[in-house]
């Protein structure tokens, strides 16, 4: 990493800033996109960005840029002073002074084997060909494979200095299948590896299985009868829903009286079957050893057998309550979890279907960008899945909408599966929900 921190620190001192903090990152990515066994796009990129924030006369100013040259320190200080003039009131305690040890997140391994553009091209073509051969009805396959390496640095004039590196392969396979009537059905699934293309291929093959099943199983599927169902939610569906639920556990929302979980610490807020752990160092793309304020991230229970045990704190919100920050700062005094793990249970997915006996299995939820209100936790989302009859999966159903409030969904869990899925920072099993409203026919 080539950045002279001292130049920025000196410029901040010359501008009479009380504290100056900077973050610098460089990301290199190589991506290959294959459509129907044809290399359509190859992309290489390297970009750096730097952001700074400072306390100046009791107010916060900030600026970020990817135009980095010898003039950047001066430009940055001017911009920060301008925004601090009328900025948010803040104090020096809301900056981390460093000193604690960082536990390494499992996102950069010494055995990571980089690949050339040519290797990635061959890999993506191989995966595309395998997917294409999976079933005669598969008409279109798109495979995107990316190798991303990144380095980041965070430092401030109080003594904070933290560094992190990440090396990762990530991919996505999307499949369109058509039946004899030309009716299309689609499926898509992501895959990743922190090590090499061999592991990536193993995971890509699993992704093909998922994506093709999602496409092929749903020919001729129609909406089921609209009513309240006993429901099994697939791990990825749980991850999608839980990512909105946890926003209400931010200490900022609680302190501003904007959380339905205000005053609920050490009280039962969810099903006794639900235990959620903050696990910021696991091998997940979102894992990190320090939060956006440079505070070391740490393990802690969030919900233990349904009882709320911790909110997520930034320095500002922790100082407000005179408690220790748990390393969940995500900018501007807000807080959010890094990576969460919902503790798996003992049941296989088949055993969960048997427990439900008659109900519905939802294995795909979409419309998340508009169908959930993260303040009210009300949701209304299109989904697809299978009816469960006599304890087994039966008819596939689609064009249905599940709706309710997430508080009720996670209070109504009656059983937890032993399967797991890493859904962008939330590692979850399948769960059984006592009742869920489904709109259909």
């Amino acid at each position: 990493m080539s950045i002279n921190i001292n130049k920025y620190f000196e410029a901040s001192k010359a501008s009479k800033m009380d504290v100056f903090q900077m973050s610098y990152g460089t990301t290199t990515e190589t991506t290959v996109s294959v459509f129907n066994n044809d290399v359509e796009n190859q992309q290489i990129g390297v970009a750096s960005d730097i952001s700074g924030k400072a306390l100046y006369q009791g107010k916060i100013g900030s600026f970020s840029t990817d135009a980095i040259d010898s003039k950047t320190p001066e430009i940055m200080m001017q911009a920060i002073l301008e925004s601090a003039k009328y900025g948010k009131d803040d104090k020096i305690d809301n900056f981390y002074k460093g000193g604690k040890k960082y536990r390494k997140a499992k996102i950069c391994f010494p055995d990571f084997k980089p690949s050339s553009l040519k290797d990635l091209r061959a890999f993506a073509l191989d995966i595309s060909a395998i997917a294409q051969k999976k079933d005669k009805r598969i008409s279109k396959v798109q495979v995107d494979v990316t190798m991303i390496t990144s380095q980041s640095l965070k430092a401030n004039t109080l003594g904070l200095k933290a560094k992190e590196s990440s090396k990762l392969y990530a991919g996505y396979v999307s499949i369109v299948a058509e039946n004899e009537k030309g009716e299309p059905r689609s499926g898509g699934w992501s895959f990743k590896s922190f090590h090499n293309l061999e592991e990536l291929k193993t995971n890509a093959l699993k992704a093909i299985d998922h994506a093709s099943k999602d496409a092929l199983d749903f020919f001729g599927s129609v909406a089921c009868k609209g009513k309240t169902y006993k429901t099994v939610l697939s791990p990825d569906s749980v991850a999608s829903l839980f990512s909105f639920y946890v926003g209400q556990l931010s200490a900022k929302n609680v302190q501003k009286h904007l959380s339905i979980f205000e005053g609920k610490l050490n009280q039962l807020i969810a099903s006794k079957s639900l235990t959620v752990l903050h696990t910021p160092h696991v091998s997940s793309a979102s894992a990190t050893s320090y939060d956006s304020e440079g505070v070391p991230t740490c393990d802690f229970p969030v919900i233990k057998r349904g009882v709320l045990t911790n909110y997520f704190y930034s320095l500002e919100t922790a100082n407000e309550e005179h408690i220790e920050c748990n390393g969940c700062g995500c900018g501007n005094g807000n807080a959010a979890p890094i990576t969460l793990t919902i503790k798996p249970g003992h049941f296989t997915q088949e055993e969960l279907f048997a427990k439900v006996n008659n109900g519905i299995f939802i294995n795909n939820i979409s419309g998340l960008n508009s169908g959930i209100n993260d303040t009210t936790l009300d949701f209304s989302l299109p989904c697809q899945g299978y009816l469960i009859e006599n304890g087994k999966l039966s008819t596939p159903v689609s064009m249905i909408i599940c709706a309710g409030n997430l508080k009720d969904v996670f209070a109504d869990i009656t059983a937890v599966g032993n399967d797991t899925y890493d859904g962008s920072g939330i590692i979850t099993p399948s769960v059984v929900i006592k009742k869920l409203a489904v709109s259909g026919k």
């Binding site: 009328y86 279109k140 303040t375 409030n405």
Partner: protein
């Protein structure tokens, strides 16, 4: 010219060295400012600059793309040479000169962002904020935000064209949260234009805030709505998100060229009710999605997509038109969030045109259904054309009259099934700004429509079928 003529020619020719038939440099310098009040005080004032270069090479229907934030000539030459390794041939084209492309200015700016002091901007926000809190003690949080963006882009390409554009955008947003102690409800409004601070002068921000406050409080006592298949009246303006999701995305060149769109090969065929006329109009003055040139330097167009129910055009860029039929050319709708994204066809200002009915006619024609007037956005799977969008403010319709407010509902369907089911269109077209996320990142788009009736649509609410 940020990159000198000599250097830009050298970079383009380095890209063309191994057989690419087209090379392009995209330079972007984007400066954004956000002023936010929340919790009854200044919440943040932040500024950012996004500046970098993307280089694209095409060889027939193959594309290689690279980007960098290092703007040194050495870095750009290396990037072009690295990208050229994506092809294995001999040079077939050389560029020797660049001629500046002239264009008019669709986005005249009356009041530049620099004309108001920070103090004035914050006072404007505070005035609106007070109005919301004044309405009810059930108002628990108000976010008042001013977004400003000043962007300069330059495009240099191997057809010998140099083009540049200055893009100024302003948006003024309100988010209000109400609570009765048992639940929270929210309301949002956010008008925006490709314009300067004249937007603030033409917006009654206090009225906008008051409306949000009224909507959020009213929603606290609203019951769950009905579910199942029923007639749906979609209000004008942001109701156009229906067309954006169900038809706009599947008519973008990427979906058409991959033959994943249900509208592939349907040019000249009836795909909608004969009363439907639809446009992607990139030349609306000061439109939120209007740019003087697109991100590959082409001129935007007033592109009619559907005429009297018949599909008459797609939205295309240079690359997707090559994949479909190179004689089709570009419709001037190639866009990207920033230089880190490969550009592709994206919507600009997309809307359904006026019909001949009135809003009252439409409401009167519905015996039992819902009337949706507020929307939070949507999503589509372009390969199946299944879409969803959420109505944040909706009312029941009973016996031809607007009934009571209901809690937010979702509407889903297949675009190709919905378009023929548009049975009445009013004469009250309005457009509204939004941000659309897709392959080339988040782009500013307008959606729009008059009030219209869809004879049947699947509606979902937390009440389930009832």
């Amino acid at each position: 010219m940020i990159i000198s003529r000599k250097n830009s020619l050298a970079i383009l020719n380095a890209g063309l060295a191994t057989g690419a038939d087209y090379a392009e440099i995209y330079y972007q310098d984007n400066r954004g400012h956000n002023y936010t009040r929340r919790y009854k005080k200044v919440y943040s004032i932040s500024s950012n600059r996004t500046c970098g270069v993307g280089i694209r090479l095409l060889q027939g229907t193959k594309c290689v793309y690279g980007y960098t934030s290092d703007l040194s000539t050495k870095s750009l030459m290396k990037l072009a040479a690295d990208l050229a390794q994506g092809f294995e041939g001999k040079q077939v084209k050389e560029v020797t000169s660049l001629t500046e492309k002239k264009h008019g200015n669709l986005n005249q700016i009356k009041i530049p962002h620099s004309s108001w002091t920070t103090e004035q901007k914050l006072a404007y926000l505070e005035d609106g904020e007070k109005e919301a809190y004044k309405y009810s003690d059930q108002i628990k949080d108000v976010m008042a935000r001013l977004f400003e963006e000043d962007e300069h882009v330059e495009i240099y390409n191997s057809d010998g064209v140099f083009a540049s554009d200055d893009r100024v955008r302003t948006r003024i947003m309100s988010l209000v949260v109400a609570s009765d102690g048992k639940q929270f409800q929210t309301a949002f409004e956010g008008p925006g234009l490709s314009a300067g601070l004249e937007l603030l002068e033409s917006t009654d921000y206090k009225a906008q805030m008051l409306q949000c406050a009224q909507n959020a409080v009213a929603m606290l006592s609203a019951p769950e709505g009905p579910s199942g298949e029923m007639p749906v009246v979609l209000g004008n303006a942001f109701g156009g998100v229906l067309f954006h999701e169900s038809c706009g995305h599947p008519l973008e060149g990427s979906a058409i060229s991959h033959k994943t769109s249900p509208f592939t090969g349907k040019l000249g065929k009836t795909i909608a009710s004969p009363i439907v006329n639809a446009f992607d109009n990139g030349v609306i003055e000061n439109g939120w999605g209007t740019e003087n040139i697109d991100d590959e330097g082409n001129t935007p167009s007033a592109n009619q997509l559907i005429k009297d129910g018949v599909l008459v055009n797609y939205m295309l860029d240079r690359y997707t038109s090559r994949r479909i039929d190179s004689t089709l050319g570009s419709t001037g709708a190639c866009r990207r969030e920033n230089y880190r994204y490969t550009p592709t066809t994206r919507m600009t200002n997309t809307y359904i045109g006026n019909g001949t009915s009135t809003k009252d006619d439409i409401i009167k024609s519905v015996k039992k259904g819902i009337y949706c007037v507020g929307f939070t956005g949507g999503q589509v799977d372009p390969s199946t054309d299944q879409f969803i969008f959420t109505s944040s403010t909706a009312y029941t319709i009973e016996d031809g009259k607007i009934g009571h407010l209901i809690k937010p509902v979702s509407l889903i369907g297949y675009g190709y099934e919905i378009l023929p089911n548009i049975t009445m269109i009013a004469d009250d077209l309005q457009r509204a700004p939004g941000v659309c996320g897709a392959a080339s990142g988040s782009c500013y788009v307008e959606v729009g429509q008059p009030t219209l009736l869809i004879s049947k649509m699947l509606v979902g609410s937390a009440g389930g079928n009832n």
